[in-house]
């Protein structure tokens, strides 16, 4: 169930082993993850499926260095993230990880381009902001503020912002959750292109099973455990998805 050594790009970006996560919610212990092992191959496109409460967001947060597991091990290119301190996790996020959220989380006081520059200003070898916007098809909207854009456009700016640093890993939490089908597909196409053209290891969490067809690997989570794993022999194009 873990890393499939026979795949083309065998190198691992991230490797998780027997990860558990227990939250203390008031007087109740919530077991969000109960021993999960997942590998992310370099350049891979992973979809994490599962109902709410299945632990997929926790898994994504641990992958992205926003949270640390209760037990188990997380290695990023051999570096142990479970032992990293606050500063090391910040540097990890800053250099390696791009995030895309369900509710975009753009800075309303900055234009599209400036939102991207927010990241390029603190990165070592970023894409030019304009190029990042070009990739998501928003080159002509670069001087618009978030309040002047549609939800789909805002999410594409968020993707441009996430990829501008040339991340090793692109993590997306329900990126189409707040969008209708047409704009959702535009967003997925952008993610597909980034994965293909720039080789960013991509992981998307969603409860929408239709999206799973564009991944090369699909992991289903239920009750904090991996319930099913699937490798797609051929990836469908985002434009063909229907939901």
């Amino acid at each position: 169930m873990n890393g499939n050594g026979s795949e083309a790009n065998g190198a691992l970006a991230v490797s998780m082993r027997d990860v558990t996560k227990v939250y203390q919610m008031g007087e109740v212990e919530v077991h969000a993850l109960r021993g999960v092992s997942v590998d992310l191959e370099v350049g891979g496109f992973l979809v994490l499926l599962g109902p709410s409460g299945s632990g997929k967001s926790t898994l994504l947060n641990i992958l992205g260095g926003l949270d640390v597991p209760t037990s188990g091990q997380v290695l990023y290119r051999g570096q142990d993230l479970t032992r990293a301190d606050e500063g090391e996790l910040t540097r990890y996020r800053r250099r390696r990880v791009g995030f895309v959220f369900q509710f975009y989380n753009l800075i309303p006081s900055l234009t599209a381009r400036e939102n991207v520059e927010l990241v390029t200003e603190i990165s070592e070898d970023p894409l030019p902001a304009q190029e990042a916007l070009d990739i998501v098809g928003l080159a002509d909207r670069s001087s618009h503020f978030p309040s002047q854009m549609s939800g789909g456009e805002q999410q594409r700016v968020a993707i441009a912002r996430a990829i501008a640093k040339r991340p090793d890993i692109l993590l997306c939490d329900e990126p189409t959750g707040a969008l209708d089908i047409t704009t959702g597909i535009q967003v997925l196409e952008a993610l597909e292109r980034v994965n293909r053209d720039y080789g960013a290891t991509t992981a998307i969490i969603t409860h929408n099973a239709a999206i799973a067809t564009i991944a090369d690997r699909v992991i289903s989570l239920a009750d904090g455990r991996i319930s099913r794993q699937l490798v797609n022999e051929t990836r469908a194009a985002a434009s063909t998805i229907q939901w």
């Binding site: 800053r94 989380n105 927010l118 603190i122 503020f145 912002r161």
Partner: protein
Amino acid sequence: MIPALDRKLLRDLWRVRSMGLAIAVVVASGIALLVASLICFDSLETTRDRYYARNEFGDVFANAKRVPRWVAASLDELPGVVRADTRVVAGVTLDVPGTSEPVNGRLISLPDSGRPVLNGVTLRSGRWPDPGRAEEAIVNERFAQGHGLELGDQVFAVINGRRQRLEIVGTALSPEYVYAIAGGDLLPDPTRFGVFWMARRHLATAFDMEGGFNDISLSLAEGAAPEPAIAELDRLLESYGGLGAIPRAQQISHWYLQNELTGLRGMALLMPMIFLGIAAFLLNVVLRRMVAVQREQIAVLKAIGYSNLRLGLHFTQWAVVVSVLGGVLGIALGALMSAGMLSLYMEYFRFPDLIMRWSWGHILGALLACGAASVLGAAAAVKSVVRLPPAEAMRPAAPDTFRVSLLERLGLKRWLTQPLRMVLRNLARRPARAAMSVIGIAFSASIMVLASAAMDSFEELMQLQFNVVQRQDVTVTFFEPEGRAAYYELASVPGVVEVEPLNGASARLRNGNRNRQVGIQALQPDAKLQRVVGADYQPVRFDRTGLILSRKLADVLGVAPGDTLRVEALQGTRPERDMVVSATVDDLMGVSAYMEPEALRRFLSDSATMSGAALGIDPAARDSVYAALKGMPVVAGVALQHAMLENFETFVAENMNNTMAINLLFAMVIAFGVIYNTARISLSERSRELASMRVMGFTRAEIGVVLFGELAILTAAAIPVGLGLGYSMLAGMLAAYETELFRMPLVTEPATFAWASAAVVGAMGLSAAVVRHKLNRLDLVEVLKTRE
């Protein structure tokens, strides 16, 4: 059973308790000032009024040279007069054992039988003097305390060159000397001015007043105006060397007390208004934020049937609870403060007993003021609650609209990093709120400036008076105008290095129906010690013929240079003449008219040309000069420059430092209240942005720029505004305090501005530190999950 909505209220209060508390402390500070000032005002006024009534403090006062006793009967006939008392009063030089310096004393006669009726003396210890014994006297309590005099101790009064022994048999207080200050002083000095009461018979003998008197007090019927009595009295005393009667309002002790009460009333109005205004602003900001955060909750409440009125009330209640909490805290604090303030007042104003007074009406007023501030603060937020349509509220709020800020449009854009642009645009998006924050912080700086600049001005007045205007070491005044002989006598005292004759004549200046009794001073054009100095700190040049007036005096009389005044001398042959006002001078102490010495002598047609002298002395010979002055029969009073300076410095050390500390504290409360709330609101509004940035890999320090950059800009903008505001408030205050006794120059030391700025920056640092703690605990995952 508490209704559910009220439970929500309680939990909301608890949830934002730190902001609520910060606002409550601002309210408490304002109310504490209000209550303390009102308690002091009520207590002092009641104490004074009761004291005046019980001891029958006079309504009109007059001095003359010598009035025969039979005139006394006609005093009762003056318009409105209920009672008239006559006394013998004499200024003397005192020799107090253990003190080398000559001390100014005033001897006041006690009736030969019975006790004084007007200006009743309250015995504090010991007994009344035995009318049969010439040496027995009672002394004012503060002087006895200042010199550590006990019953049975002796001091000596120099009367006509003879040392007259005075034995202290009692200590006393008098309504005439609640504020016991020697003429010409700015501050009372308990060691430099002693009042003694003794049997009339002996005092009259010593001063050639047998069968006569030289001091008159009148009490008037309730509601009677003093002017008719004063006019008649002046006419009556004209042939006896009358020096012009004054109403109670101009009696010096009363004047100072009244001035202080007026100041207290001003403080009771102005300062609390500033504090409550700022509290209303802060309530407004916090409540509006609360409504924004609770949009969906409000919509649900409306959807299930809560009325606009009930919801509006719900949010108003939050503000009312916060400010009433502050109000109650402030009332308690104010009561405590008033005790401290009153004990300080009792140091300077002496009453037999203090009647603590507070009125429930004032307390109720304070609470109503809190209520008004909270309703004012809640109004805008409540309006937005009422206007929120339930369905609209269930949808997430649209992203805030922003624009490129003015600064960036001016071409600074490329110098700004994205976090800095965020800061600028956040500020530009709510200019009114930014402006209010700036004004709030500015007020705290201005209070600081006001507090310490008033001190700067007072110090400048002192330094100007003692180093530029009066450069002598000793000022001597004579009983009667003297001729050249007195000059040579002073000049021949070993240790006296310089003698400058002073000549002043008491006169009444009249312009139509406006008139003032003042001293006309003759000053040598080349005077080195006692000079007339204008606002430019340069000595004034003298015109041979004209009259130069203090600007304040010219204002009071309504004249300008070129106008003519009627001048009536109140001494000698009492000549009268019209004189032209040639100039006005911005002098700072007292009001005077000045003339060239020869012109004054011709006007008075008097050969005696000295009413006193300014002396420069050799510091090494101080004690022998003092001893010589004590023995001179012509000397009525001696003012010592160094004693006035030392007294001033003590006053500053005892009072001003306390006042400064309290003002600093209050200014910090405002600054902290405004900045902390601004920071907390920013944190609440931007937590999502800040969390996003943290997720993207920004460090805590980097996101701190967004949050604290805004505070820094607001504070930086507020400081110059506050310094300017403080300066104008100071100018206004000094203008309001401009009196005929003194005018304070408008000066501010750079250190004052530096201190005020530092205090505001300190408050910002403190707020930032507290908010930083919250920022560090920002839950990244949680913030991102929830929709705003």
